[in-house]
């Protein structure tokens, strides 16, 4: 049982480049989330989804986009990378709105 899988684990981007962070879960969870973690700042919610075809903005959505075409996959798109997007990104899933989150191992992104 793989749980939540994120790829890539590390990536360096140049300013203005675009990329997609992949997230897949094999637990048939309806709820999926993208967070970013910055030192001393905790985790901030970027986007979330309550099921296939349904996504909504979190606390810090600017500069990002998501899609949820299947229950399993929840990719995060960065369109025009900026240095402020240098961070560690975590994908998480949950079976319930009130349940605990299951996290992936994270994707460390550096924008230079």
């Amino acid at each position: 049982n793989a749980g939540v899988t994120q790829t890539p684990k590390f990536r360096i981007l140049k300013i203005g480049q675009s990329m997609t962070l992949q997230c897949a879960q094999d637990m048939n969870h309806n709820y999926m989330y993208w967070y970013r973690q910055d030192p001393g700042m905790g985790l901030k919610l970027i986007y979330y989804s309550v099921g296939a075809g349904i996504t909504d903005k979190g606390e810090v959505p600017n500069g990002y986009n998501v899609s949820r075409s299947t229950t399993e996959d929840f990719p995060l798109r960065l369109e025009l990378a900026a240095p402020s997007q240098t961070s560690v990104y975590f994908c998480a899933s949950s079976p319930l709105k009130t349940g605990e989150l299951f996290f992936g191992e994270g994707s460390r992104l550096t924008v230079l």
Binding site: G40, L45, E100, G106
Partner: protein, 117 residues
């Protein structure tokens, strides 16, 4: 709006001593409270949660937390610390009153726990 605070950036304890990592919260409705642990270069792992019921919640690896409604606190505790407990600990809260994006999980800034031999 919901919020959560972890007043200590770092907690230092000696192995074998009891440990406490503090967390306070603010919500409008009933709180759903969680503790997570993060080891270096890893994702967050769930430790325990309080939804309703007994104020003392027991979780993984010998950790427990006490829900105190009057003090709006949910401190994480362990009777005897291990060196392997050294990690970053996050408290999180969800406000049961709200749906949509307002009902999502909010994380504290984290507390680094250092256990020395």
């Amino acid at each position: 709006a919901q919020s959560v605070a972890q007043p200590e950036d770092q907690v230092n304890v000696a192995e074998g001593n009891p440990l406490t990592v503090k967390c306070t919260y603010s919500v409008s409705g009933n709180p759903y409270l969680f503790w997570y642990v993060q080891y270096p270069n890893r994702g967050l792992q769930f430790l325990l949660k309080y939804i309703t019921g007994d104020n003392l919640v027991k979780g993984s690896y010998g950790f427990e937390a006490e829900f105190n409604k009057s003090q709006t606190s949910f401190h994480l505790k362990k009777p005897s610390a291990l060196v392997s407990d050294s990690a970053l600990y996050f408290c999180a809260v969800r406000d049961g009153l709200w749906g949509g994006s307002q009902g999502n999980l909010i994380f504290g800034k984290g507390t680094k726990l250092s256990v020395k031999p």
